[in-house]
């Protein structure tokens, strides 16, 4: 039984360490790094518990089962075992507290106060397209362009129904609500292209409410901004 447990635990830990960063979209922001790290930690923490239950179940299957139509004799009449219950409660509570502390810490980092001079971008969702405008510049675009290593604050709203603004590579997601502005912020730290998808069901073409975003160097970004048509 111990070995079953050990094997499953090790397997779980390995999956926890190697899977997330490989399965999830390329991480392009601080939030996404944190998300992936948290997934690794949680998986590693949960592996031994899951392994324990699996090992026990397998052990029961291997040693204590009776086949056939004859009713087996009665088992040991154990009704209570205070030690086991308390230990179990203690362990699960400790684990929960650990996950909680980690989670709250991560949350604090995630929602950390906005930096001195974030780039503000107004995000507008409508059925079934996104559009982005850069306050103070009269520039509006159907794709999102961001400078690298500068904090961005998205001010998200909607024209018609609730949409979900989600940058799949940056671990930030917030709904676009009608008549309300919700904000999220993140700091892209990798150059490249990323996907933006709608995560809140918004009707007929919900599946096609997608667009691309690009993280540029600050000089590229400035020239892009300058090259865009100015709208009144």
């Amino acid at each position: 039984m111990f070995w079953t447990w050990a094997v499953i635990t090790v397997a779980g830990v390995l999956v926890g360490i190697y899977a997330p960063s490989r399965l999830m979209p390329r991480s392009m922001s601080d939030n996404m790094h944190l998300t992936i790290l948290t997934m690794i930690v949680f998986t590693v923490a949960a592996a031994p518990v899951a392994a324990g239950v699996y090992a026990a179940a397998l052990h029961a299957l291997r040693h204590w089962t009776h086949k056939g139509d004859e009713v087996p004799a009665a088992g040991p009449a154990v009704r209570e075992n205070a030690t086991v219950v308390t230990t179990w409660l203690l362990v699960s509570t400790l684990l929960t507290v650990f996950l909680l502390i980690w989670g709250l810490g991560a949350l604090a980092v995630d929602n950390g106060s906005t930096g001195k001079n974030p780039l503000v971008i107004d995000v507008t969702g409508q059925q079934w397209v996104w559009s982005f405008s850069y306050p103070g510049t009269h520039v509006q675009s159907d794709q999102l362009y961001l400078p690298v290593n500068r904090e961005v604050e998205f001010r998200v709203t909607s024209e018609d129904v609730t949409h979900g603004f989600w940058i799949a590579n940056m671990g930030v997601q917030v709904d676009a609500n009608v008549g309300t502005i919700t904000t999220i912020h993140t700091t892209p730290d990798k150059l490249g292209t990323f996907d933006i998808r709608c995560t809140q069901f918004c009707g007929l073409n919900h599946a096609f409410m997608v667009t691309e975003g690009h993280v540029l160097t600050s000089s590229q970004f400035t020239s892009w901004l300058a090259s865009q048509p100015q709208r009144a």
């Binding site: 179940a57 029961a60 204590w64 129904v161 609730t162 995560t199």
Partner: protein, 621 residues
């Protein structure tokens, strides 16, 4: 079905009786259709200002007419009318209502006998699961390759909405319906439920609601998902009105059933059946019912508000009138999360019961089991906002709700402790119920751990609204609740039919379903991790392979369920005969003969010990 289920007790069939004794499902359908037409006609001619044939006002009154007519036609209004005019039932009337000496016919009528209602619930559950399953297959077929090939996105959205709601209704009644009605009163040593006529009412109300829900697909574009998102539900077609009315009617059914279950378990117990001797399954059903009583008023309210927004143009969810979609989200999830445990608890409690009988051991730490279930129920009403982490509503409350949500893993952990503890060193009888129980243990672990990820806000900000969430709650509902439900079906099937559920077919079904679940939903986890949002009618190439695998797995699950259906149908009349107590269990439902006579006990038993005294000295005088 008749021969095995006909009450052996053959008292004289009460004579006479008038129209209200001639009512049945057919008259209910006719009444429903008739009144639907009348209400449609009236509304069409007097309410509708622009005389658009199917405006929301007209549709709402049509659906209302349907349910009124259905109730009238099944005889639900007889009792209130009799009460009003002061003509109460005689004992003969009661016996007749309980279906005495009416053979097969009683299964199609407003019959109050809790065993008949239990069987009706078994059929109802299978119908709902079947319909929802067919839609699931349609959804997976659409998603087998990128692009809209099988149906267009409008039809697909309707499939998603109705699949979700059908399955939720089906699972809410899947265990508590059949077994909470059939065996729970006998377990307590009662002759029937506390309010037999309310019991029949809850069943037939569910039938009326299901009919409305199945109609939605035919009558209009359902662009709002099963949670009836606002404000988009304001745009949906008239199908939305059917949908809302179906839910409102369903909440009536569940509220009535909850009250009935609680009163039965608390006031109908026979002499000596103290709360401490109550079979653990009864506890599970009580707690689930209490939770339902708390949750479902929110459900009906949010649907009523949706309906008046559409018909009277109120502004509950319309920003230009001061409303907000967040109100819908709050009300819905105030119901929605407790409802998850209304679904889960009866299933888990049934498995506690089964594990004790099959391992020939007492339930390990009976008190812990009750504490776990109660704690879960209590916590579940404090966690609703974890469904709203990414909606932008009250970000400051994120921390507190994250705390309550993660605390849930402690009572949930106790379930594993009790199950494993009961099996520990037992002599585990590997019959069909046991097999499905082990399936539950394997799947419920995965469901639980993926839940821990989603309760953590930084992770939720990435995974919320993706297929990862879908896969997570399908591990809960399909992998866990459904496995528990099938285990319960296999366990109590002999008490209903007097025959075993075919062991061999049951195991084929198990392996197909179990492997199918892993293939389907692990692949779905991967889709979610790679970034595929939920409710997508089509998807980018990068999600191709995982979706293909998911669809193949879904087909396996379908095969497994079909085999189970075949097993149920063939075993019902032709299965291997089982005695009154095939599992050599000690709880009361196994002490009465099979088929169980009307009113269960000639002489009410007196209880001196709880049913888990395996291995202890058995005192049977």
């Amino acid at each position: 079905m008749t021969t095995t289920l006909e009450a052996t007790k053959t008292a004289a069939i009460p004579q006479g009786g008038g129209l209200h004794r001639r009512l049945n499902m057919l008259t209910a359908m006719i009444g429903g259709a008739l009144f639907a037409w009348i209400f449609w006609f009236l509304a069409h001619h007097f309410l509708d200002p622009t005389s658009r044939t199917y405006s929301d006002e007209v549709t709402v009154s049509l659906t209302f007419g349907w349910i009124v007519g259905f109730w009238l036609g099944i005889g639900a209004f007889n009792a209130p009318f009799q009460w009003l005019v002061g003509r109460d039932n005689t004992r003969d009337d009661d016996l007749y209502l309980a279906g005495q000496g009416q053979g097969k016919a009683k299964y199609w009528k407003f019959t109050t006998d809790h065993k008949v209602v239990g069987v009706q619930y078994i059929i109802m559950t299978m119908v709902l699961l079947g319909a929802g399953g067919i839609l699931a297959m349609a959804i997976r077929t659409e998603l087998i390759i990128p692009g809209n090939h099988f149906v267009n996105q409008q039809v697909y959205n309707g499939f998603v909405a109705v699949h979700g709601m059908l399955m939720i209704l089906a699972l809410i009644v899947a265990v508590a319906g059949p077994w909470g009605n059939f065996v729970m009163p006998i377990m307590c040593g009662a002759r029937d439920m506390a309010f037999p006529r309310l019991n029949a009412l809850s069943l037939w109300t569910l039938v009326g609601a299901a009919a409305l829900l199945l109609t939605t697909l035919a009558v209009g574009s359902l662009t709002m998902g099963w949670v009836v998102l606002e404000p988009i539900a304001d745009q949906a077609g008239v199908g939305m009105d059917f949908f809302a009315m179906a839910i409102i009617v369903f909440t009536v059914s569940t509220t009535v059933a909850s009250v009935n279950v609680i009163c039965t378990a608390l006031t109908m117990r026979t002499k000596g059946m103290t709360l401490a001797r109550l079979p653990i399954f009864v506890w599970g059903v009580i707690i689930a019912a209490a939770l339902g009583l708390y949750a479902f008023p929110f459900f009906s309210l949010v649907e009523v508000l949706t309906m008046v927004d559409r018909t009277f143009s109120t502004s509950f969810f319309i920003a230009s009138g001061g409303g907000t979609g967040w109100l819908q989200a709050n009300l819905f999830w105030l119901m929605g999360h407790p409802e998850v445990y209304v679904i889960l608890l009866p299933s888990v409690a049934a498995l506690f019961e089964i594990s004790a009988v099959m391992a020939r051991k007492p339930v390990f730490s009976y008190r812990t089991a009750i504490a776990g279930m109660t704690g879960l129920a209590g916590l579940s009403i404090l966690v609703w906002a974890h469904h709203m982490f990414t909606t932008g509503w009250a970000p400051t409350l994120g921390g507190p709700f994250m705390l309550t949500t993660e605390l849930i893993s402690i009572p949930t952990g106790l379930f594993f402790l009790v199950l494993i503890g009961t099996l520990w060193r037992g002599n585990i009888w590997m019959k069909l119920p046991t097999v499905w129980m082990f399936g539950f243990i394997a799947n419920f672990i995965i469901a639980g751990i993926t839940g821990i990820y989603l309760s953590d806000i930084p992770i939720d900000n990435q995974l919320h609204g993706t297929m990862f969430v879908t896969a997570h709650f399908h591990y809960v509902f399909v992998g866990s609740v459904l496995f528990g439900a099938v285990s319960a079906l296999a366990f109590w099937f002999p008490k209903v039919t007097g025959r075993f559920l075919n062991e061999y077919m049951g195991r084929i079904s198990f392996w197909l379903t179990f492997i199918g679940v892993q293939v389907t939903f692990i692949a779905m986890f991967l889709s979610g991790l790679r970034g595929m949002p939920r409710r997508y009618s089509s998807y980018a190439m990068i999600f191709e392979h995982t979706n293909f695998i998911t669809t193949i797995g879904a087909y396996m699950i379908m095969a497994g369920m079909l085999v189970l259906l075949g097993a149920v149908i063939t075993s019902w009349n032709k299965g291997e005969p089982a005695g009154p107590n095939p599992w050599h269990a000690n709880s009361l439902e196994w002490m009465v003969p099979t088929p169980v006579p009307l009113e269960n006990f000639d002489v009410l038993p007196v209880i001196t010990e709880d049913p888990y005294n395996y291995g202890e000295e058995l005192v049977r005088s």
